[in-house]
Structures are given as C-alpha cells and as structure tokens.
Symmetry: C2
Subunit: 742 residues, 2 copies
C-alpha cells in the first residue's frame, strides 16, 4: 500500500475546500511587501530593532555582506557549471543577496539596497529569456540557471522575497520587465513546464510550490497560487496541500528523515507564512492539527548536541545551525511564543531579517528563554501514523544525556537506507554508535560534481553499513528501494517509564522467509553509574541463514575479550555490496553462548559492548576502506558478530558506558567494565535476560512480547523461576537470587 493511496480520500476533502477559498479570495495583505514582512511592518518597528543587539548584529552582518556590491553589483554569468562550480555558486549567492538587499531596504529604509536588488533583477530579466536548459543538466529535472530545477526553485524563493521588498521602489516599466521576463517565466518553467517535478510529493515539489505560490501572491496571480496549493491541474493531485498531507506524519515526522526534513521545512514554513499573511482564513498553521508547528518541533527533537540524527542520505555536519531552521524557529516563535525556541538562538546564530526574528531576539534578550525539552519520543511514520516509527529514548534533557535512536520507519523514498531495526547511540555529548550518513561531499566539484558518490549506493545505503542484522550477507530487499517503500516494520511496542524505556519492532519483509524482532531498552540501573542499553534479537528463518550483526562505533579500541587476532594482510569481509568495502582486521572464534566484550574509548568515556548468541560464531573487527578507487570513504571502524547458519537466532547485547578519561587532568577511572556476566533464559518464545553487575547486583529484563497487561508469564531463569505480567518487566536486585514478582 503506497503512501499516496493511503491519503488520497482524506486529501480530496481538504482540496475541495481549498479550491473554493482560492477562487474567491482577495489577498488580505494588499500592499507590498506581503511575504516574510508586511506592508508598513518595518516602518513601525524602526525604533525597536536597534534595541536588540542580536537583531542589530544580524542587520550589520547583512550590510557587511552587501557592502562590496553596492555600486558594483555582482556578476550575472551565463550558466555553465554543475553544483559547486563558479556560476552555480554565483547564482546561489545572488539569490541570497537579493533577499538580503530587499530586507535591508525595508529595515533601514535606504534606497541603495533597493538599487542593488533592482540592478540584479533587471540583469536576470535580461539573461533569463535567453537561456535554454542548463548545459550540465540532470536527466530528470533540469533547470535553466542551474543543473537541476531544485536549485532554480530555491533561487526563486529568495528572489521573490527580495522583489517583494523592493516592489514599491520600482517603476512600472521595471516591474513589467522583471515580472514578465524573469519571475513569470521562471514560475511557469517550474510548474506547467515541469509538471512531473512540480506535482511530486517530495521536497523538490515543495520548493517549487513555495516558489510559485509566493510569486503568485506578490504578482497578484491567483492561478499561480492555486497551482502551488493544488498542483498544475488545480485538482489536488499535486501541490503544497498534498505534500503537507503526505510527507508528514501526524506528529510531524517527515518520511525522508531529519536531514531532508530540515531541508523541506524551509519552503513549507516560508510558504505557510505567506499563506497566513495573505489568506489567514486558511488557518494554515492549524491545518492537520498544527502539523507544521509539530514538524518544526520534531525536527529539533531529532538531533543530539546540535546535529541531526544522520539516518538515510544525510550530510552529517548538518544541524540546528542551518539556515532552514533559522526561518523555521523564527516563524514558529512568531506563532507560539514558545520560550524553549529561544534556547536555540545565540550570538552565533544567523538571525533572519524578519519581524518574527526581531521578536525572537527581543524575547531572548528579555530573558524569556527556557531550555529545549529534549525528551523520549515515539515518532510514528506515515501520513496516518501507521507506517512504522522512529523512536528516541533519552535519559534526560541535558547536554550530556544518553540517547538511543531506533529506526523502524518506512523506507523514505530514494534517499532511504536499507537499515530497518537499525540503532544509534549518543552519550556525553558525542556519537558512540554511529550511522555513516551519506557518501557525498556537498557541492565539491571534484567529488562527482558535489552529488552523491558511487559509494553512497555501494556502501552507505547497504544494510551492513548500519547497526542491524544482515542475513546471508545480503542487504534488506536486496537494496531495491521500490520494494522497500511498499512496507515497513510492524508490531511496534514502546513504553517509557521512569528508569526503564523499551522499544520493539518486527521486520518480516526485508528477507523472504525471515522474521526479525529487535527489542531495545535503556535502563537506569543504580548499580551502574550510567544508563545501560539492552539489545535482544529473535530471528527465525525458514532456511538456515547466516546472520551478521555489525556495530559501527566511534572511538578507539581498548580491549577485546576474547582477544582478537590481528589479520596480517587485510582482506575484504565479503564480495557483496557493502561488504566489499570492509577490511577484516581482527578475528576470534565465539562459541555459542560465549560472550564477546569489546571496550572502546570515545571522548571522555569508555563503552563496553557485550554480545552473545545461541549459535557458534566469530567476532570480527573491521575497517572501512576496501574497494574505494577514489578514496571517498572515511576510515571508520566496526565490530561484526557473524554466526553459523541457523534457523533460530537468539542474540543478546548490552552496551555499558563507564568510567572517565580526562587527558587534560591526567585522570582515568573505571576503564574496566563493571558488568560481569549476561545470561539469557528462554521458554515458549519468551526471554529473561539477567545482567550481573558489580557486587553481584542483578538486572533482570523479562519479555513476553505479548501486549495483554493481565496475561501472566513464567520462565525458569538463572537462579529461579521468574514470573511477570504483560509485555515486559524490568527488575533489579542486590542479592544473588532474583526477586520474584507476580
């Protein structure tokens, strides 16, 4: 069942209402500007803004950026280069310059900024009609100014912001030339001449819709606005409202994951701001129970230490300091005055030049800030929230808390990775168990023109590049995205109690004849200084299968028990996609039931991963870098537990953060893990995991995997009979004998 089919009936209703509104509406905002800023809004605030140091600094920075171009406007070159090349970057910069110049004209009232934007726009109005498709065009969605139309949409969003702000400073002839030779043709090129892209339910479509819709508002062109909202056919089979309905879950989770969520957010919120100003009756911010504001909040939640969780095709450096969030935070604060948003702003922030941003800055400076409430959350995926979930388990809100991210979402279209039941772990302000992110150097021409590298497909998307089970050395769905898009993990369970949080899900489509269930817990066990992670797998395979469990860790290896033999001449771990990039560097036999304890140091803390399975296997240490002809891959390290072929796999792992390494203070303590043993007892599909800690303290986790809270379960466990009710139970004891609960 595809996303689109799920949503269509519900959407049709919305669409009918929307069409009626568009057809009859005169814009509420009559003068100019009417997008990010309102007519007369800056004049009213002219005495206010210099009082804000943050905002005044943002104005000053924008003035400094523009200073070199006053009287000497930048080049408007004939398009030539792909992403990262000279003309590409020049046109990108010019768009931002246009938006800046317009805003500065509004805030300062100075004619020279309008003059700069005027000259630039007129030059573009001269150039644009002469352009065919870009010489470096992409096959699917070519642009004219840029190699792909996406950049052209982004360009128009910025340019229309600038034009809106200087509209009243232009004469009629200038407006006519700019509108008829540049803005309209570009809007047409991005919509009726590119209907496939424009009507797509995808971030490219949203950027195009925002560009065309915002242009429509400024040019008083109702037809453009209607197309933007409802697609080129005006029938709701494309456009902003369909995108809003289908791309976000009810909680505001975006199907491509946080990296593209952040990217998609900018056109969503900019266009929403424009809709709200010009057609407030639409109540766009209340639409779908406030999904846009939820999406902004969710985007922020999907980060740790200021960086987004890099699932799917993600540039790992991206975080809360991106320009897309600058707009989103300002607009969200403008609508909610939520003081937690102020905590995301500081002197290094790039405040945008909107009235919302000014109010944000003034509130920050008035001391209204509250900490952002980072919290555990189970983000259901899909338009109706029934297509898998991303679960974040956090030990607290502070900068050094532990966070476990469990990915059991839908695939996420073309940027999705084959990583169902994958997890990541953050602690002490750093990444500990990691996702490689995308194999891409954004806009670096020497690296495939700045596009995704071949290794994005051969490595980064493959299952073994993630922290989840690989069956028989194959990626999930044999790396077929269309197949992966058609389903999602099921049987989700999630609960967060004080001291113990749990998430569980089942994947039974990724490998024919194989059912995988993973259950993870983050437990605050007083016997250990930091919360501990439990990881419990159950897998059944019709045919006996070999299972690999990789763990991509960040940091430096400290110790392995059993000791790993170094492989003198490194060899590829396998021939399949993903595997052919991994060198096998360390190896040890691991008999059934034997525990592999691997300790590493990341930043100032030690981590020990203990894992064992019910079948014989081998412990591998691997390093990335094989089969990499252009030296594109980072030299990351991974553990990999490989089992013999089996029809039933039961695997238990525990991650223990411990100790402290402070080189500056020459202080090391607790480099040896405190967990002495991990045991598993199973019966009738139920598991009891017993962790033996310091001084024989015990942590027991019982799992029935059955939701009925009244159903009682019994398993004969280490040291006695263990009884509990419901899906799971976590108990802790000081003594050797397990506490019996009923």
């Amino acid at each position: 069942m595809s996303r689109r089919q799920t949503c269509r009936p519900w959407l049709l209703v919305l669409w009918c209402v929307a069409v009626g509104q568009v057809a009859s509406a005169a814009w509420a905002a009559a003068g100019h500007p009417r997008l990010l800023l309102g007519a007369g809004e800056t004049a009213a605030l002219r005495n206010e803004w210099p009082k804000s140091n943050l905002f005044a600094a943002a104005v000053a920075r924008a003035e400094a950026r523009l200073a070199p171009y006053l009287g000497d406007p930048p080049e408007v070159p004939v398009p030539r280069d792909a992403g990262g090349g000279g003309t590409h970057e020049r046109h990108k910069a010019n768009a931002i310059l246009l938006a800046d110049a317009g805003a500065l004209h509004q805030w300062t009232g100075e004619a020279r900024y309008a003059e700069l934007a005027r000259q630039l726009l007129l030059r573009y109005a001269e150039l644009y009609p002469r352009l065919g498709l870009h010489p470096e065009r992409s096959s699917g969605t070519p642009g004219r100014l840029f190699w792909q139309s996406l950049n052209e949409s982004v360009w128009l969003v910025h340019a229309i912001l600038g034009y809106d702000c200087i509209h009243d400073a232009l004469d009629v002839d200038e407006r006519r030339r700019i509108e008829n030779d540049l803005l309209r043709p570009m809007a047409q090129f991005l919509s009726i001449h590119s209907p496939g892209m424009f009507n797509s339910v995808h971030n490219h479509g949203t950027w195009a819709a925002a560009a065309v819709g915002m242009t429509g508002y400024v040019l008083d062109d109702e037809r453009m606005v209607r197309m933007a909202l409802l697609g080129t056919g005006g029938d709701g089979n494309g456009g902003y409202l369909l995108q809003l309905a289908q791309l976000f879950s009810p909680q505001g989770y975006y199907l491509e994951g946080p990296y593209y969520q952040r990217y998609a957010l900018m056109p969503f919120v900019l266009f929403a701001k424009a809709i709200d100003r010009n057609e407030p009756a639409r109540g766009i911010f209340a639409h779908r129970d406030g999904v846009l504001l939820k999406a902004i909040h969710t985007t922020i939640q999907l980060s740790y230490a200021g960086r987004f969780f890099p699932i799917n095709d993600a540039i790992r450096e991206k975080g809360l300091d991106t320009m897309e969030l600058d707009h989103a935070i300002a607009i969200a604060h403008g609508h909610t005055a939520n003081p937690a948003l102020l905590s995301l702003v500081d002197e290094r922030s790039h405040l945008v030049l909107s009235a919302d941003a000014l109010r944000l800055a003034l509130a920050k400076e008035a001391g209204a800030e509250q900490p952002f409430p980072y919290a555990s959350q189970h983000y259901r995926d899909g338009p109706a929230g029934d297509q898998g979930a991303l679960t974040v388990l956090r030990s607290g809100p502070g900068p050094e808390h532990s966070a476990l991210v469990f990915k059991a979402t839908s695939h996420g279209l073309g940027h999705g990775h084959f990583d169902r039941l994958h997890w990541m772990f953050y602690d002490n302000g750093a990444e500990v168990v990691a996702d490689y992110g995308a194999a891409r150097f954004l806009n670096v021409v020497q690296k495939a023109g700045g596009r995704y590298l071949p290794e994005n497909l051969s490595w980064a998307k493959q299952t073994v590049a993630h922290n989840t089970l690989v069956v028989n050395g194959q990626s999930q769905f044999q790396a077929n995205a269309e197949e992966a898009d058609a389903s999602w993990p099921t049987d989700h369970f999630h609960e967060a109690r004080a001291g113990a949080q749990i998430v569980s899900a089942v994947e039974d489509r990724a490998y024919p004849g194989v059912e995988l269930r993973r259950t993870m817990l983050l437990v605050d066990w007083p016997a250990l200084e930091r919360p501990v992670v439990l990881d419990v797998w159950r897998a059944r395979s019709v045919q006996a299968s070999r299972f690999d469990l990789p763990l991509h860790f960040k940091g430096q290896m400290i110790e392995s028990v059993p000791v790993l033999s170094a492989v003198p001449a490194w060899r590829e771990l396998g021939e399949g996609e993903g595997y052919r990039h991994l060198w096998l560097v360390g190896d040890a036999a691991l008999p059934a039931g034997a525990r592999w304890a691997f300790t590493w140091l990341q930043g100032r803390r030690f981590y020990t991963y203990s894992v064992f399975a019910n079948v014989d296997g081998r412990a591998h240490l691997a390093r990335l870098g094989a089969g990499d002809p252009n030296f594109n891959l980072r030299p990351e390290s991974a553990l990999l537990l490989r089992t013999a072929a089996a029809k039933e796999l039961s695997l238990v792992a525990v991650l223990e953060p411990h100790g402290e390494y402070d080189a500056a203070r020459e202080f090391t303590r607790g480099s040896v893990p405190r967990i002495a043993a991990v045991l598993r007892s199973s019966a009738a599909g139920k598991d009891v995991i017993t962790v033996i800690g310091p001084n024989e303290a015990q942590l027991q986790v019982a799992l029935s995997y059955q939701r009925d809270p009244d159903l009682q379960h019994v398993v004969e466990a280490e040291g006695g009979r263990f009884k509990w009710r419901g899906y799971y139970q976590v108990s802790m004891t000081d003594a050797i004998s397990p506490k019996e609960e009923s």
Copy 2:
C-alpha cells in the same frame, strides 16, 4: 658536547652563592601556612573572595568534591595496581583531596576540612612505614605508594600543601606522627634513597626536588631545602637550580618540548612560589633573567586553539586547560599582573585555591583582560640557546590564524622523536599537517598499564611518522636516542617581515654522509586569499640515496593530480620501523619535475599540497594500521613522495589553503586550488622558486642561503634573470615577466 657539560662552570658560581644563603637563612615566612598560602593571608581575604564569582565557584566545586568524604574519609589502600588501576588512582585522588582540604580549611575557616586532612594524613602515617617497594614497580625508578617514584613525588607535593594548611590545627603528637612516619621518610625515600632519580636533570628530578624542598620549608628542615636546591650532595650536581639552568633555554623553551614543559612547569612554579615566600632574597623569579616567567609564557605560546603542539612523546588532548597551567598562570599573574593571562581563564577554568588565583579572578572580573599575544617566535633550544630551535610562524594572533611549526631542536632526551626538520601546520582553528603524538592511552590499564605502547617506539618516534625527509627508509640516527642527543640541527636562519616569514636549518648528523637543508616560508600573497607555505629542500648524499617525504594530513582526500591508482590489496610500505605500520593504498608515477597536487578538506577549508622533485619518483597515499597486533594505532592518512636514488635532491612543495566548505549553510566555494604552476631555477647552490597563481600573478622566492646582506646573487629564472642581495628575497608581480630587483 652534552647539556650538562655546557652548563657546569656557570652553575658552580650560582651554587656557591646559593649554599651560602641556605646555610644562614631563617625562613622569611615564620608561621603556617607558608607555601601557596601565607600565614594569615586567607583571614585577611575572607571578605574579598566571596565577591569573585569565579573564585567562589572554585571554592564551591572543591567543597562539592570533598562533601562525600566529610565524616567518611576515603580509603587508604595497600598499594597494588599500576597506573590507572584502583589503588593507583585512589592514592592520586587522595593527594588532591589533601591539598583541597587544606586550602578549604584556610579559605572557609571550617574545622571539618582540617579534620578530613588530619584523618587522611594519619592513615598514611600508619601505612607508609609498612611499605616496601611497590609490587608493580618500574625497574628504574620504583616508588612505594606508586609503581614509579614520579607519582610519589607528585603525591608529596600535594600532601605537603595540605599539611602546611592544617599544621596549626594539629596537636604536637599528630604533627610528630605525620612528619616522622610519613613526610620525612617519604622525602628521604625520594632523595637520599633515590639519588639517581633525584639528581637527574629531568622532570622526574624536578618533581622530587619540589616535593622535598617544599617539605623542608614546612618542616623547618634546612638540609632538605639544601638538597632540593643543590642535589643530594649539596654540591650543585643535582637539584632544582641545576635543573632550572639546564632544562630551559634562555627564552624558556624546555628541552623535552611543550607536552613535558607543561608537566615540568608545575613543580618548577610551585617550588618557586615557596622559595620566594620563604627566601625572597633569592629572587628566584628574576633568576636567569626571569626564565621561569618566560617558561610560562613560552608554554602558552607553544599551543594552537588551546592544545599544545604535540611534538615528541605528547598526549594530543593536552592543552591550556591542564591543572599544571592553572597554577602557573595564577603564580605568573601574581608576579606580573600581565592582563593577557586573564584571557586564558573563563568559567570552565579550574581555578586553584591560592591568593594569586583569587587576585587573577578579581582582575578578570574587573575587566582587565587583554588578548594573549600569540606571535611568531624563534625559540632557541639548549641552556645557552645554541642547541637548535623550534620556530613558530604565525599569520596573526586570532583564533583562525595560520601557524607553521618548524622543529629543529635538540633531541629532547628519552621522550624525543627522530623528527629533525619536521613541520606542522594549523589553520582556521584546526590541525592540518599533523604530528601523531605519543602512542599511549594515559592511565588506561588495559593498554599496557597506561604506559607508552610498543607502537610508540615502532611508529610514533620513527622519522616516517613525521613530516620530514627519510633517507633510505631508515629513521634518523637509526633511532638511537643517545646519538641523537649529542647534536642538533645547525645553520639556523629565521626572519619575520611583514607578509613573509622564513626559517631554515641544516641537519648533517642524522644520516652519515647526508646533508639535509630545509627552508620554509609563510607568505601573505595578495593573489591568494590565505597565506601560502613554501617548502624547499636541498639534500646531498655521498652515496646515491632514496628519499621519502611524508605528509601526515588531517581531513578527507578530495583530489590528486596525477590520479592515484587504488591498490586493491593493501601492502606494507616497507619493512623498517615505522614503515611496517603503513599500508600503501594509492600510487602514481611522478617523473622528475612533474608536480603532484593533492587536495584535501579539513573542517571548513580546502588544502592543496603541490610537490615536485628533480628526480623521478612515485606518489603514494598511505594509511596507518598495518602490523598493529593490539589495534593501538589510529587510522590516520599520509602522503608520501618517494624518489629514485640520487646524490642530489632538490624538492619544492607549496601548501595552499583555499575555499570554504560549509555543510550547515550548504555553501562550497573555491574547492579547486588557484596555484597553476610551481617552477624552480637553480644555479650554484641558489634557488629561485616561482609560483604562478590566478591570472598569471607570480610569487618569486629567491634563496642564496648566505647571510651576508650585501652579497649580490643572480640566477637565470623562469622568464628572465633574477637578482637579489642577502639570504633571501620574496617578490610578487601581477604580470608574466618577473620583476627584476637588485
């Protein structure tokens, strides 16, 4: 000629004066405390210190650290473990606790802190007499509480600070037990029972001297103080004054490099403070033209972005936030009130609990701070400043400046690396061309007990682990430290003019029959956006030799011209020490005169290294990690240019920082280098290097290597005859033809 011989005559004079003073002096400070704090000093400041937020926070942190032990003093275990183990860390922590408790007793006047220190000291007084040598003792310098006596000296330095502070709160019997059973025997053990260590001119000796000398002042024991100052024989053949004379150059450069300089600084300054308080007539801070204060300043200068240059055996994480500098900065500010020292203090700093630190905090809070004047400097090494030099060329003082570090110092004793004419480069707040540092996990028991790892010798110390020429695949001096200690690079030249800085040195002992000269420049060439590095080698070898020039870069490879062929199965680059840890991963032929241009991305900037030689060679890309049985090495990357055998090598390299990569802002520009060509013309031992930049701009550097400023030189260079006077000349042109200057 050894260091010791160089200094002895001069030292003897000093020693005679010193003996006279010690013999006749009664301490100027009569009561207690009399080391870091003076008698009655805290009482006088009791209304002052709560006014300083920084100092009050430091007091509060110390109180919080001690709170768990009030009424329940920590264990005083029988010594058992080596570095990083439980008893080791417990005793280390107890010493700090003693110092803290004493200081808190002074500052707060509260008896409970004295009580905690009293109980601890009495327990140690009970334990210590029963101890033989430590079970995990090191062969050379065993301790009793610790595996090595060094830790015992550090322990006593802290314990005597604590005892000094609570002296007046103890009764006579308690003092007797603590002094007779603990402090005196420990001081004796560290001096007359360990004369080899105590009299050594080495940081171990300095810690011991400080411990014994400070104990002597507190216990009114003139003999101890004399030993501390003049060695166990009281004759100046050991002790603090000899160490001060021999370990620092006149500019305050410490022969083991900044990592150990920082470490050695703490006993030097703590003991100096005690000497100054008790025997001000010695004028210890003015001694050797104020070498101690210079040493503190130099230690700070030998850092970038807060981290020390990691030459020799250095833990790379060490920087300005170490406890050793906390003391040094406070004491230096106490003597000089230099407002630049205030810039090194902020809320995260660990202020010590001294009156100097309080005055530092109050000055900081009064807004007296000035930026620290990071500057280019030529640090001559050796007691008389004639044993080589470390040169730092900086493009400015700010946090993003470029800094080139050129190492042509003496070897640096047992912690020295075989890295003459090695360089490092920092830019934009990050390491760009790097030193591996030491192979060691400080105090991590699982990693060789926290000591230096085998790979410290087999990799980190070897020449190929550095950015300097390796001849015939052998390390300098065949990695024999004693031979290396006997000489140092010669013929140093250094000059810093506005826009162009130069350093040059010759090494002709490291390889028999081989003379190496390296000349490096940091040039601010307006045709490029950032300062550019020029690197010019001349080598002569009696026998034809193969030369390898490694470059250990930080960051990710972007492009190589010529293209490097990926080596499908990585193989060791060689069998010798160092080489056997390097995998050859990429390879290309490089004919004589052909330029190898290699671009990488580090942080937010691109770097292109262009190199060519006068003989045929090969371009190699290497990765660290071969022959590493315990997985101790980090997976670093290096370039390596390998030449065919030759008797004369002329090699020129240029490092160009360029462009910007801002993933957060999705902005990339200038990823392609702007230098089009690098040419070299030579005649009669002189070189003219011509760099062709954008728009055919030219940078020409002429080198005669002759100091006479009036001597004129002529070389037929690219495009014409080039004339100049003196050692070197830098000129820049816009046109194609070189400017002729005379």
